[in-house]
């Protein structure tokens, strides 16, 4: 049954207010960040703050447009929107304009568009549409895999640009899957993978793998409690390993220790298979699988880090992990960014008084490092307020998402939350040195039409859906 409602009455004014406050604060901070003595007018169109004003006006029009469209449009056209945006991402790889080594932009005369900013709401729509009828089924692999594919497709396409920042943002949709019932095991595995990733970079791989094998054997002993049996299994592995090692050492001479370890593990697995099959020892089987997976993972991380990551990305990770201290190369940005924010003190230096900001010590200070301006000129108080605004917005969105009656609206809402949260946390985190430098904008603050429009559409589609939440009775 369908009820007609007045959109203006149904829409969440608190969120709109937060949105307006953020956009306006952002605009003033962009003014401070790129402040130019010769062009003092905040509406001067030759400057970024003047342009941002145009983007802001345009985004208001866009917001109104998004809201007056019928809410069913988004449900029915979710897949088409997703398909168009995926198509654009593919076109981008062919016709995109290369800036700083990445094809992330379409250029139409004076206007540049970044399709990955729009792909975010497209993906959120597609994911919501897909899960709309499969709410409680995310425990099944055949339901999970298409959902993962919806997320991975744009993620892979953006990484091909390459744009690691946006790619990571797409991964935040896993939060939606988690909310919709995907096993937390996936997340724990994910966390373990992150941990293993760092350990791989920190520790000699051979030691790490040896450590994992020791842990696996301990777990196996803990599970079986059959000492004799355990010893036999252990002995078989040692024999295979030693034999292979000697073989390689004297005859083959080309395997290397890591490969010897891997082959030993696989051969031991074959030997254990009989026992597992006969005794139905599922636990042992999982321990074995986990060990094998981890070791394959370590090897691939090692390979990826040294062969797939760009040198600058490798630098960023290494600087974040403290392997490198480099205050002039890649670390320069972070160092200057922390100096800016740190020098703001408790109360800040005052609007337009930030020396770091005004004299351009921080690169990309109107875009990815816009938070420096906040931190330097408004101090801890200002930073606290901005973080408070985000916290308020995100919690408000959780509240809105939870009150949805339609699964589509609720899942889409969590998509919005995931995206905004990831941008907020990573962007500010990198500016204050908590996270590695990942170039993504701060929603509603950073300069740039594409990101502002992308986030506005993302948010207002949800507000539109929320406004019609009473139209359906579930």
């Amino acid at each position: 049954m369908r009820r007609s409602i007045n959109i203006w009455n149904g829409i969440d004014k608190i969120t709109i207010l937060l949105f307006l406050v953020m956009v306006i604060i952002g605009w003033f901070n962009i003014y401070a960040a790129v402040y130019n003595e010769d062009h003092k007018g905040i509406l001067d169109l030759s400057q970024r703050y003047g342009k941002q004003f145009v983007w802001i006006l345009a985004t208001f029009v866009l917001a109104v447009f998004v809201v007056i469209i019928d809410n069913r449009f988004y449900l029915f056209f979710a897949w088409i929107i997703y398909a168009i945006l995926i198509f654009l991402l593919i076109l981008l790889l062919l016709f995109g304009k290369e800036i700083n080594g990445a094809k992330s932009w379409f250029e139409f005369g004076p206007l540049s568009l970044q399709p990955s900013e729009f792909a975010k709401f497209g993906t959120a729509l597609a994911l919501a549409s897909y899960l709309n009828n499969r709410r409680q089924e995310l425990t099944k692999l055949k339901v999970i895999l298409p959902a993962v594919a919806i997320i991975l497709l744009p993620a892979i396409l953006t990484e091909l640009q390459p744009d690691l920042g946006s790619t990571i943002v797409f991964f935040s949709f896993f939060l939606v899957l988690f909310r919709e019932g995907m096993s937390p095991f996936v997340f724990i595995s994910g966390l373990l993978m992150v941990l293993l990733f760092f350990l791989t970079l920190l520790i000699n791989n051979l030691y790490l793998e040896a450590g994992l094998i020791v842990i696996a054997f301990f777990l196996a002993w803990f599970e079986t409690r059959k000492f004799k049996l355990y010893l036999i299994g252990f002995g078989i592995s040692i024999l295979i390993g030693a034999g292979l090692y000697l073989l390689d050492h004297y005859l083959i001479k080309s395997l290397g220790n890591e490969l010897v370890l891997l082959i030993t593990l696989i051969m031991s697995g074959l030997a254990f298979a009989y026992y597992i099959y006969v005794k139905k020892a599922i636990a042992i089987f999982f321990i074995y699988l986990f060990l094998l997976g981890s070791i394959l993972y370590i090897n691939s991380v090692d390979y990826a880090f040294n062969h797939i990551l760009e040198p600058h990305q490798r630098d960023r990770v290494e600087i974040m992990l403290g392997f490198k201290t480099d205050t002039h190369g890649t670390g320069y940005n972070v160092n200057q960014s922390i100096i800016s924010i740190g020098s703001g003190g408790f109360k800040g230096k005052g609007y337009l008084q930030g020396t770091q900001t005004k004299f351009k010590f921080v690169p990309a200070q109107s875009t990815d490092f816009i938070f420096c301006t906040v931190g330097e000129e408004w101090g801890f108080l200002g930073s606290f307020v901005v973080i408070g605004l985000y916290l308020f917005l995100l919690l408000r969105l959780v509240f809105l998402a939870e009150r949805q009656r339609s699964a589509f609206s609720k899942i889409y809402g969590y998509g919005v939350i995931s995206i905004l949260f990831t941008h907020f946390f990573i962007n500010i985190g990198m500016a204050i040195g908590l996270l590695p430098v990942i170039g993504i904008p701060l929603p509603f603050f950073s300069y740039g039409g594409s990101s502002l429009w992308g986030f506005t559409i993302l948010l207002f589609i949800f507000l539109r859906l929320d406004a019609s939440r009473t139209e359906y009775l579930v």
């Binding site: 939060l175 988690f178 909310r179 924010i341 020098s343 699964a407 946390f425 500010i428």
Partner: protein, 612 residues
């Protein structure tokens, strides 16, 4: 439909809150707890630009400018700001090779990529003018003005000293100096460094990340102004100085002229010398090395107060004075001379002579016997005691000790103590005859030309002197170092001086037998004494001391001409010309002047030196 995963809502809320709290904690640490970032931000943005004051000027006693400043320009580079440019054109504009360019850029980069460093020091005004028009083509380069010393005449190098950049060791020793500062070395530049240098100022600017100046900090309230160095009026008479150097061309030796009433040095020549302009700017290092490498003539060596010579017969007046004061002779005391005294030879002259005659004729015998009387004075218990008394007088004249002029490297010379002879001959093992050669200024005694000029001034003053000094007054308030206003009184009666002066007058203006008649001047009574300093390495040095006019002395002078033989031959005419130049402003005896100018004692020396 029931939501079985509603608990996960709280997990997500928890995650969001946790992230926000993590951000706030980190922000609190860097913004509130740590205060080092403020300093880092200031270091980023504040640029302290030193304002170099102009160094004080140096004038001569008549207000003629000797040393002034000219603008020079240091080309600075900020490596991080450099970009695409025509390196070949750049190098040809500056007159450097590409290798030099690469090397300098490397040095600058190694020093700092973001801070400015000197790329090329002291480019001339002409090069600068040409270069300035194109500097926009060379991003990252800019020009910082400095001042260099400039000399109105290529004279008085030894007096003036030079200016060079401070070195690492000095910066450590004196915290006032910073890398790139200049400091005076030797002469007036070193002695009056603190007055001449003035005080540096500093301007604090705000700069952007490209080190471009964006404005002054705190509206310039924290800036300090540079204070210009004090000007110095020296006692030098520039014309006399120039004339002295001119006379000494192609000779080695030294002239020191002093105004006796004040102790102001009128001229100080050490020959060979060099053009002080050679030790300015970029050519300094190279020229300095070249001058230093000249081991035959040692142009950097200041003979006027660093060369030690025996005074020779110019020492006779002081022995006469001491003998009179000690009452071992009276002016009319006569001694015989039979072409010598014991083993000391003397030339032929009438005999016997009184004191005046002995000074006029420079009789060795007379002074040997006088000196013996001084040392064998029964008033004292021993020769050694009498010797110390004699030595005490010499010290009063400034011999055997540093006079205390501004020249830091002035040498004390030598008047050996009795202990010296005790060591050499054993206590009581030496007699007056043992040291008799000091009667006529030979033997162990060593004096510098500055000491001789001072001694002459003391005779001219009839018994006192002021420490010789170069500087007449400092700064606008005409300060003077108080140590130069102390009158050093010698404990010898002025009447005794009159007696000796009669002898010195006669030596120049007397009749037959007068040793220095060549130094006589029309209308000016010159009093002088010739001397021959024995030189164990070659031809003896010609020495002459003189002052004039006799009754109101305006100039006291000591002249040493090395390897020139008897004092009257060369040193006396040079001294006489100097006196006339100073007192009359022109030379009447042109042929003598011509002869002295043409005299070349250097070429023969070169030949004999190269033979070694």
């Amino acid at each position: 439909m029931k939501d079985t995963f509603v608990i996960r809502k709280y997990v997500i809320i928890g995650l969001i809150v946790l992230a926000a709290v993590a951000l706030i904690i980190k922000l609190f640490i860097i913004q509130v707890v740590k205060d080092t970032y403020r300093l880092s931000a200031d270091n980023n943005v504040l640029r302290y630009i030193t304002q170099y004051p102009a160094r004080g000027l140096i004038y001569d006693r008549n207000g003629k400018l000797i040393v002034f400043n000219q603008a020079a320009y240091d080309l600075m580079v900020v490596p991080v700001q450099t970009g695409k440019m025509d390196t070949a054109l750049f190098c040809s504009d500056l007159g450097i090779t590409k290798d030099v360019f690469r090397e300098r850029m490397k040095t600058a980069r190694n020093y700092s990529r973001r801070a400015p460093s000197v790329f090329l020091k002291q480019i001339s005004a002409e090069t600068y003018a040409k270069f300035q028009e194109k500097i926009f083509m060379y991003p990252g380069f800019y020009v910082q003005p400095r001042t260099l010393r400039k000399y109105s005449k290529p004279v008085a190098a030894h007096l003036l000293g030079y200016v060079s950049e401070v070195d690492e060791a000095l910066i450590k020793k004196d915290p006032y100096y910073k890398p790139g500062d200049y400091i005076g070395k030797l002469g007036i530049e070193e002695a009056y460094e603190k007055d001449l240098r003035g005080r540096r100022g500093v301007k604090i600017y705000l700069v952007d990340v490209y080190s471009r100046i964006k404005g002054s900090y705190a509206d310039g309230n924290l800036d300090t102004l540079a204070v210009q160095g004090s000007d110095i009026i020296s006692g030098i008479n520039l014309d006399l100085q120039e004339y002295g150097e001119h006379l000494m061309q192609n000779k080695t030796g030294s002239i020191v002229a002093i105004e006796p009433k004040t102790g102001e040095i009128l001229a100080l020549v050490s020959s060979p010398d060099y053009d002080p302009g050679l030790l300015v700017g970029r050519i300094r290092t190279e020229n300095f090395a070249r001058l230093q490498a000249d081991t035959i003539f040692k142009p950097l060596f200041n003979r006027a107060f660093m060369a030690k010579y025996p005074p020779g017969s110019t020492f006779k007046p002081v022995n006469g004075l001491i003998a009179l004061q000690e009452k071992v002779i009276v002016p009319s005391t006569k001694f015989n001379c039979d072409h010598g005294y014991l083993f000391v030879a003397c030339h032929s002259h009438s005999s016997p002579l009184d004191l005046k005659g002995a000074i006029m004729n420079s009789c060795n015998s007379y002074f040997c016997q006088t000196y013996r009387r001084i040392l064998e004075n029964p008033k004292y218990g021993s020769v050694s005691e009498a010797y110390e008394k004699w030595r005490g007088y010499l010290n009063e004249f400034g011999f055997g000790k540093k006079l205390g002029s501004e020249f830091v490297n002035e040498l004390p010379g030598l008047v050996p103590s009795s202990a010296y002879f005790d060591r050499y001959y054993g206590k009581g093992g030496w007699k007056a005859l043992t040291v008799i050669s000091m009667a006529f200024g030979q033997g162990e005694i060593e004096t510098t030309p500055l000491q001789m000029a001072n001694y002459t001034a003391a005779i001219a003053n009839r018994g006192y002197y002021y420490t010789p000094h170069i500087v007449k007054s400092i700064g606008a308030d005409h300060r003077i170092d108080p140590r130069f206003t102390i009158r050093h009184q010698i404990s010898i009666d002025s009447a005794n001086f009159e007696e000796v002066i009669l002898g010195m007058e006669a030596a120049v203006n007397g009749g037959a037998g007068a040793t220095a008649r060549i130094a006589a001047l029309n209308g000016i009574t010159v009093c002088g004494k010739t001397g021959t300093a024995e030189n164990p390495f070659g031809e003896n040095h010609s020495v002459f001391i003189a002052f004039a006019p006799k009754d109101d002395p305006k100039i006291a002078i000591a002249v040493y001409v090395e390897n020139a033989g008897f004092g009257a031959t060369y040193a006396a005419p040079v001294a006489s010309l100097m006196i006339e130049k100073y007192l009359k402003g022109e030379i009447t005896n042109k042929p003598l002047e011509q002869r002295m100018l043409e005299l070349n004692l250097v070429d023969s020396l070169k030949v004999s030196e190269t033979k070694h």
